[in-house]
Amino acid sequence: MPLDLDPSILGQEFDRAEYGPVTAEELIAFARALGETDPRYTAAGPDLVGHPTFCVRYKGKKFYPENLPKNINVRSGFDAGKDLELGVPVRPGDTITVRSTAHEIYEKTGRTGSMYFVVIRFTMTNQRGETLAVVDNRFMHR
């Protein structure tokens, strides 16, 4: 079934959430769980920064905008992938603002029928307004 998409929802911010302040313990626990040993990510002190993928632990409070096409069954789906563009590193004491937009919505047809992909973009900034990361989350629904 073709997507009944209102293109005006693309690029519109539908959620804004704030987190933090980030602690050194959180940064270190995250890095160590990945087996990371580099002191840049694991040693408490003035040089400590977050692992490059630390930001993916944050997301918006609202999962999707309200006016998604009705043929997308949001109750059934899975995480199909992620694209992460890095800005400045996360540091202890940072507060993180996550702005959510619907970046892309498209359909693909496979052997088993239609699949719908929803890409939600999280733009993450710190308290100085610097970009920490832009994360595109790709979810697949049938």
Partner: protein
């Protein structure tokens, strides 16, 4: 921290040192806790089976993090600029996975390198594939 290799020595086709990793269930749980992804599917076999899964699975975000760590172990901490991954299959803890990468492009003008990365299961399936951009000083 200086890069572990120099841009001048990188060539297209270079392989990153592959890493075999026994993905312990406790490590996956530690990640789920640290990444704010604590849910049955990532922490508990019985809970995951109730969701129709074969047992607890590894979060896709964790596999991306492992691949990011692989790239920076090669190029140096702080060199990763971008990583994109596609989660194609389930990655089950308690098994050995192989983390791999290959240089696909070397861009002289901005001293960046493009890398293909992937995670291979013990059955040889590329369950996670992706690309990464590394920037050298």
């Amino acid at each position: 921290m200086p890069a572990r290799i120099r841009f001048e020595t990188v060539e297209e086709g270079d392989e990153l040192p592959a890493r075999d990793l026994l993905l312990e269930k406790d490590q996956v749980r530690a990640y789920a806790r640290a990444a704010n992804q604590w849910s049955a599917r990532f922490t508990d076999d019985d809970g995951a089976r109730k969701e129709g899964l074969p047992g607890m699975i590894t979060p896709g975000n964790m596999t991306m993090g492992l691949l990011a760590t692989l790239v920076e172990a090669w190029a140096g901490a702080g060199t990763l600029r971008r990583i994109g991954t596609t989660f194609r299959g389930l990655v089950l803890p308690g098994r050995v996975v192989k983390l791999c990468g290959t240089v696909t492009q070397r861009v002289e003008s901005d001293r960046t390198v493009e890398v293909d990365v992937w995670l291979e299961t013990d059955e040889g399936e590329r369950a996670v594939i992706g690309t990464a951009t590394v920037k050298f000083d």
